[in-house]
Symmetry: C2
């Protein structure tokens, strides 16, 4: 592992010039820069991030904090963020909080404070004021996905609106008896997202003058299995609904499987709609509202970069709305 001084020697310049040339500073003449670059690549020189970080206060590393790793949505966001970061020469350091409270504390009170990261992306995490202020005190920019979060720039879909559109779509197809599979209390840690979706669902019904029937709601935990169980309960009621709106595609897929298992047809007997555009959605012909998680990761990185490398006249938007898109497939149909 050659150091900067070996490069300097080989190129016949000072280490300062090497540093300047390698960091693309302007004040280096063409020929000098070329000699330095050639020397560096000949020696296979790579800057030590510790030394460089210590000198500049910048690590070229971004921390990503997530509540779960093992779910399509989260790993997709990370995938998007990772490739955007790599492209810009940044590393991604992962902090998975699924372990529980103790883990979360140590991440925020130790790991994120040791100056290993220049910035933090927090996904679907309701940061506490103290967590936020700790980061801001260190001058570590944060971007949240799935906000809003007081004092933090966020990127988020309007969950109430998305749920309303799903429900409205079913209403427009002539359905009146529309069930909803939402989240339970404990899944609330993701930003009251289940609640928002339920609110949107109820708002659409209310707007259409359809009474809200509590027996048409079931809680799940955002898995195929829980969606299946919830749908089984909904469909074995005396008056079974003609449509189901699930708060996630995985639950919607569970519902589709339940419908089939009962010898009924989708969408002939029951229409099903979800949210996400999960990788399995097209396989199951699921109508859904897509929310492009990879893109969300990419955009979070862009927001961070604006803040880390201020350009001319960027305005740092505070809470950026995320695009969604209704994807109609074969799981929904006009009420028979």
């Amino acid at each position: 592992m050659p150091g900067i001084d070996e490069v300097a020697r080989l190129a016949g310049v000072s280490t300062a010039t090497v540093s300047r040339a390698l960091n693309g500073k302007l004040s280096v003449s063409g020929p000098t820069r070329d000699r330095v670059l050639a020397a560096a690549s000949r020696l296979g020189y790579v800057v030590s991030s510790n030394a460089s970080g210590l000198a500049t206060g910048r690590t070229k590393n971004v921390g990503v904090v997530i509540p779960f790793l093992n779910r399509w949505f989260y790993s997709s966001v990370i995938e998007g963020a990772e490739s955007a970061l790599l492209q810009r020469g940044y590393d991604l350091t992962l902090y998975n909080l699924s372990g529980g409270g103790e883990e979360r504390r140590s991440v925020f009170e130790h790991f994120l404070l040791r100056k290993r990261v220049d910035a933090v992306i927090a996904i679907s995490l309701e940061l506490t004021p103290s967590e936020v202020s700790r980061m801001l005190a260190m001058n570590t920019p944060i971007v949240g996905i799935g906000g809003p979060l007081p004092g933090v720039r966020t990127l988020s879909v309007d969950d109430v609106e998305v749920a309303r559109r799903c429900t409205q779509y079913l209403i427009d197809l002539g359905h009146h008896s529309i069930a909803h599979i939402g989240g339970s209390q404990e899944s609330e840690r993701d930003f009251h997202l289940p609640t928002s979706r339920r609110v949107g669902y109820e708002a659409a019904l209310a707007d259409a003058g359809i009474p809200i029937d509590p027996s048409l709601f079931e809680a799940g935990s955002f898995t195929i299995e829980s969606g299946h169980r919830a749908a089984m309960r909904l469909l074995s009621q005396p008056h079974r609904p003609t449509a189901i709106f699930a708060a996630s595609d995985e639950m919607a897929i569970g519902a589709i499987l339940a419908v089939r298992e009962l010898g009924l047809a989708v969408p002939g007997d029951v229409s099903v709609i979800g949210i996400d555009d999960h990788e399995l959605a097209s396989f199951f012909g699921l109508t859904t509202i897509a929310q492009f998680p990879q893109e969300q990761g990419r955009r979070a990185v862009e927001m961070l970069m604006e803040e880390l490398h201020p350009g001319t006249g960027d305005t740092l938007a505070l809470n950026v709305p995320l695009p969604v898109e209704l994807v109609v497939r074969q799981s929904t149909a006009r009420r028979g």
Copy 2:
């Protein structure tokens, strides 16, 4: 952000003593240590990883390199590794190679060389000799999952044996006409794993004196969808197999769905077995051979730690076999 000197001042000792106390060195008296610890925690002091890393050459950070993120197996391994690392005060920096060749080059020629990581875990990656020697030249220990890899300590299941056991299990149930859904050429990047599994399958058949019928093999790409497609082809042959062995649970689940779609029953008409014990396996009642990916991640971390912090008389095993376990559920039955 207080520095070490503030802690030293508050505790009334030198920075050297603070460093020693905080790093658990023996040569610090009880009372002194207590005063230092108290001062540090009162100030909320956290060591700067850059400064510490520069001084020691150790970063307390491990790089994890994976070919995909968005698959149950990989994110499970990472989850296991992450929590094991966090527990030991290590960060995990993620390098996802799914982007393609260019990305891979930059990871090995730039990112991993800038001394940001103390060690590397490579998952299902056939490292080239040059990639390996680069790491070893920097004195960066590597552990591979899914080996063997020349010159690298690895952790791996015996894929041939696993496939043989799956097939044998079906044979023991009286099946003769056993189809196999394996991998295609391009999925070969994961260590010829598809090939190994096919070899095990054929070996079991040969041992039982069952002729190998090429029309009973179909290639998939380790997704539910591809398993479904492959099974559809297998089951629409004039002589349909009575059992299917899929090289992954996701493909096995696709197969189960295909069987049902054709109006047949699992396991009544067709038995299905997979490999993995995917989170959906129990929901689909899938018989499978479990391979505990989280555990694999945890053990890779343990191997690295042995190497990073050599204890007394550890012998560093070179290629460690990984345990697997047959999990019998409802997708397999004696031939009717």
